[in-house]
Amino acid sequence: MGVAELILDNPILIKHIRSRFRPGHALPWFVIVFVLCVCTAWAGHAYDDHYSAILVLLGLQVLALTLGGAHQITASLGGARETGLLDFHRVSPLPPAVVALGFFLGAPIREYALAALTVPFAAFCACFVDLFSLEKGVLWYAQLEAAVLVTTLLVHASFMLGCLTRKKPRGSILGTLIAIGVLLYFGTVGSVGFYFGARWLLENPLSMNLFGAMVPWLPWLILYEACAIGFVGLAVTRKMGAERAHAFTKPQALACMGTLSVLAIAGLWKIGRVLPVVPPYRPTMVDFIILATIYGVSFAAMILAKLITPDVGEYIKGMRRATHEGRRRPSSWSDAGSNRLVLFLLCALVLITTTAVVSVAGKQRFEDPARLGNWWASQPEAIDLMNLSEDAWRASRQEMFSRPIAASVLTVAYFGLASQFFMFRSRRFGLVMLGLFLFAVWLVPILVGAIVAMGNTPTAESRALAIISLSPLPGVALCSGLDTVPGADTIRLAAVAPPITFAFIFNYLLVIIQRKLDRQLRDQAKAPGPEFATVRPELV
């Protein structure tokens, strides 16, 4: 099947074109959008505010594509999954990628058409947006349009994955309310940012960092979003093929993490030289970026670890299959295999990525304190920071971030091990138990620390910070020494000790429960025993 055939003769896409373009349903929407476009373009032209007109039209597109399109994907794909129609597509000879593409392009097809209706009007306004250069205005608009389109694809792909992985395919009421809240918040904040950001983009060429080279923002955005769309699409295709499959295979999860690592390093390569020149004060912008990267990469690793963790049912099935085929246990690379090996590799990738980012971020450029005034010139810390050589800067950052990196890697490790342990312990309540555990070790210390901080004793602050550091959420940042805080040594210990302890405990518990399961299943395989025996793993 060629690419053109894949799209033009895609049965699912054709199905959606037929059902979504019935005149009775589609015509009113086209009339509404057309009238809105005419009014906006006319008003923009009449009052010579083409810029606002374009943004209103782009806003309309975003509204149709993200709100409307995402809703249509949820309704169409979620509905097909809920009713069992998706199973018909699964048992048809149509490859899962073709089915996925059909839903991906087909479900929001009317919204794409409505968005396309706004394009001529926006393009008309773009011709007048820059008084001196028609080309400049049109190019600026085309770039914005491309960015909206690529981001829409990513949003749609994410919604598809959500539809295929959720227990309730069409989402719960709570999920809908949260989504509305998030959309309202980001819609409001985003529209303000978009308004001023787009204006800035019109007047200034924006370049982004890629391995130290500055590339125009649009190819940079497309590269990053294309990678994201690629991996989300991979997961969607896999789930489209089989309901039971994990979103990623274990090698795919590692590839995803590897790509994320490369993109993180590429984007932050010598970032210090790209950032604006600022007065020399700590914490610097580079420090914040490194810290954010540590958090981001760790969370991504945790999500991937969760996605590849089999539950007890899958493991037992894999064990039985392995025994039947004369193997000891399922391969560590199969869906049914324990997550331990891949978790180790994910942790290694987190360690490598974060260490590399610290090493390559480079020193930030500072303004000379002497030129900033007397106060800055009298600050020895500012002068020291200014005078640091590139090597000394790197060494100081490596020293500063070694503990946060260790804490975050160990947190990923114990999260993955705990997740595997609880899923082996009980399929039904595994997630609940994991949630309770995370609540206890991630949120309770923050709560207790906040209560302690309210005390009037002189040591309250340092005690509170030490308690709060027990949670990795603030602990990773606090143990970096980014800011001078009382009781820094205790904080460092408090931040690193729990991850080490939990990693050892859960590794031990996992070994025990896995051995128990293996033994029970092998015993059952040797002696047929009762016809419908079940395995009930018991906690150590």
Binding site: P11, R22, R90
Partner: protein, 308 residues
Amino acid sequence: MIRVRDLRVDYDQICAVRDLSLDVGAGEVCGLIGPNGAGKTTTMRAMLGLIEPTYGTIELDGVDMRERPRDACRAVGFMPDFPPMYDDLMCWEFLDLFAASYFVPRGDRPEVIARALELVGLTEKRKAMVAELSRGMRQRLMLAKTLIPDPKVLMLDEPASGLDPQGRIDLKNVVKRLAAVGKAVLISSHILSEMSEFCTSVAIMERGRMVISGTIAEIHDRVIGGTVLVIEVLGATSEFEAIVAADGHTGPFEREGSVFSIRYRGEAEEASELLATLVRSGVRVASFARKREGLEELFLKVGARELS
């Protein structure tokens, strides 16, 4: 056509299907029978690749389901008991969707769709919206969808549920016709009396295991041990009873008025000999019938034996 060996399916920690083997050849209509929860639907879904078997081999039209699932699916038409449909499509559009999914050439599709609609008696509803169809019509449309790719293997899960009497007769005829042209048909149903009319073989499942499978005659012989002679005798029965007892092929009998039901292990030849003996001896035989027990009795007997 359908070949299953040592199939095992586990749901979490429960074994839903255990070491099941099944063969359905070309032109064969096999009834998959079992109480609720026996594992019939699980077996069918595993055969379709919708559930991953723990182990076992599934071959459809000679293609291994695990190794080449897409090729295997190409040979299969599947119809579930409660057919889900795209309500926002017209009947012909719904069929066209699946015709394209099964790579029916674009030029052939109108003809294939027209033929399928005619087969299930929905030609007049060609341009009707699926949402407007009654339950029985939806079932017919689903059957048409199942037949669109001209599959070599048909799997029908409770196909008659929701169909009106005419629809059931049509379904029966369609299934018989398909079997006659060499399709392998696997049907799961609870309506055993109807299944016995068109099934050439049955497979009885109980608690995830295949209790017994084979042609109805084979199972009958193995389970019940022969046929039943139903003989109505007029007048004195003592001589009749003596002759019957002396016959080497008869078993215990039950009597209801003048009608005797006798277990009989002999073939048609021996039965006719018995009838001739009775007539020669002056027994007044009003009616004489040699019959096999229906699927319902068979199922109950097998089920009862398993449960006991």
